[in-house]
Symmetry: C2
Subunit: 398 residues, 2 copies
Amino acid sequence: MAIIVKKFGGSSVASIDLIKSIAHRIAVSYREGDSLVLVVSAMAKTTDELFRLAFEISDHPSRRELDMLLTAGERISMSLLSLALHNEGFSSISFTGSQSGIMTDSMHGNARIVDVNAFRIREELAKGKIVIVAGFQGVSPSKEITTLGRGGSDTSAVALASYLKADLCEIYTDVDGVYTADPRLVPTARLIPSLDYGQMLALAYSGSKVLHPRAVEFAYKYKIPVEVKSSFTFAPGTILHSDYNTTTDRYMEDKTITALAHKDGLIRYLLSADEALLWALKGWNNEIFRYSFENDSIELLIETKYESEIDHLISSKALSLKEKSSGWACISLVGLGINLDPCILAETLEIMKGIDLLRVGHSEKTIDLMLKSQDLKVALLRLHEHYLVSSADKGGKS
Amino acid sequence: MAIIVKKFGGSSVASIDLIKSIAHRIAVSYREGDSLVLVVSAMAKTTDELFRLAFEISDHPSRRELDMLLTAGERISMSLLSLALHNEGFSSISFTGSQSGIMTDSMHGNARIVDVNAFRIREELAKGKIVIVAGFQGVSPSKEITTLGRGGSDTSAVALASYLKADLCEIYTDVDGVYTADPRLVPTARLIPSLDYGQMLALAYSGSKVLHPRAVEFAYKYKIPVEVKSSFTFAPGTILHSDYNTTTDRYMEDKTITALAHKDGLIRYLLSADEALLWALKGWNNEIFRYSFENDSIELLIETKYESEIDHLISSKALSLKEKSSGWACISLVGLGINLDPCILAETLEIMKGIDLLRVGHSEKTIDLMLKSQDLKVALLRLHEHYLVSSADKGGKS
């Protein structure tokens, strides 16, 4: 008898057919006696559509009312999924974030989880029901409805798994799991079956979109076993836990590159160092990809989708912009102990020959390369071929 | 019946009195049935003295002979400790790295552990003996004696603990454990009783000298519980494991600064980007504190003690030096999720007001500040007071 939390993102519940299909897959895979909690996002595009409606009414909608509006999105998907489960013969019940006991602070639009008090979920599980929970939402100390911001639904799922001491928290998504590189750009990329929280965190911070760093941090802190897997196939994906997987090391003190992460479509802003900027960026948690200050300049690397917001911020605060350029990408090699080994650095630069690198740096578990977007694919292919395709794999193809 | 590996560094076995005192403390704390393996470094200054002797004979001593010579250092300390244990009534036996089955690659002076095959240790433990092992040394595939380079003895201990599936690997040293900041500079610094490998790794890479990053990586990979503690008091120190300590978080998604690490006495070299430099730095594992490339320049941050070696390297390879300056220090704030939160960054810069910062950057678990050595102490004091002295502590003093 296991307790399992399953989270389905917006693309997994995007249509009635998909919702029915999830209910059916759950019926097929259900094992008698298991306790299931299903955390759902709003149907894909619903949140954007609700946003659009709000901004048609007001240029500056109240954050409180906006949260009230947006949380209707999960209310729709969760009740539909509950209905679909009834059709499959299950007894199920849906709860809002508030009913589930997801207690947050008062920061509307970007609330942090303060505590979980999910006694109602526990009671319903005890009655043998499948419980469906609205991800991405919670309730503040003054009983207001809040939303959790980016990475919110994954974080809801991990937080509930922590409260329930779940055996597993499954994050269903539109990819099969964590790969050695993005398989859309690197055809030889392999699924990583098992990964420690620390390396997953480095990957998430370096651009891997499979799981938000915030959810990884939560899992790391509370030691929640998480599996990232496909909502289309339900096939085994990538399991995250605290164990470093030593099977890919050739010897004990080997320094292995576990995977490549990248972020494309970055805009680089170079501004005069000004505290007004920093205060203006409050609330931009995790939306800034990289920042650095050197002498009197601040450099920000930000995704294209935030361009207009940043431009607005710069002009409204009268900040002095020194340079702005787009078309940047970053690649991070992730592995334990690789960062300060000059051999790996020398090798990496050798592989990158002919590709313009604006910058090479490192962090605790990464070597970081900044390059032009146009060179991203060839750089990823070369690095993956060198570090992540074993000689056996290469031989096998000839 | 526990299996415990205890490692004593050079300063802990620096004199006959200290060796006798360790033997006595072991006698007092010994619990019937426990299996003890003691890993020792050479007596403090012995290695330096042996180095000096070698260089009196030759400017370029063979690395093989040098390793043969240096490994005499642990041979002395381990046999003396064994004799001291005989005096305490124990049956004990000392082993070299080779006899202990520490298998390494062939990189003399900086060998990596490839495997451990410590069957002789296991046999002697089964006979009820205390086994003493020479740290820092191993044997290559061609049966040559190798030394492990920086962090070697700690790594020997952790590697043996892994082979023996030890219940605990105790690293005895001249400090009590890991502190919230260096207690010599920050009087209010507190001992951290429990710390996860990931944050310890960030601290070690950022300058905490308590444990070498290499040993932390080994412990992380093989999940070895490690305790860092004082060889003078044997009092409880800091236990490292895979569990994040949530007790210092005020709420679930809190972003807590766990500790400050720093590195002082850094020299900054700015060189024209040149691959010759990189290849010349091969073998400099972990001796470069930070590196980065930007456009056509390479920046290296290196401790003062390597200054003459780097200067020699630059002149012998005819590398073009653009700038060299000394008197630099770095401070890292370490914590989960602090790196991309503009509030913490804004707060940190506010605290640093009036202190010149050359640079502010971040890595996955850190915010990194580069400043002049002369400002280090006041910066540490301010940051520690703000982030690591709780308001209760502050109130308690008034």
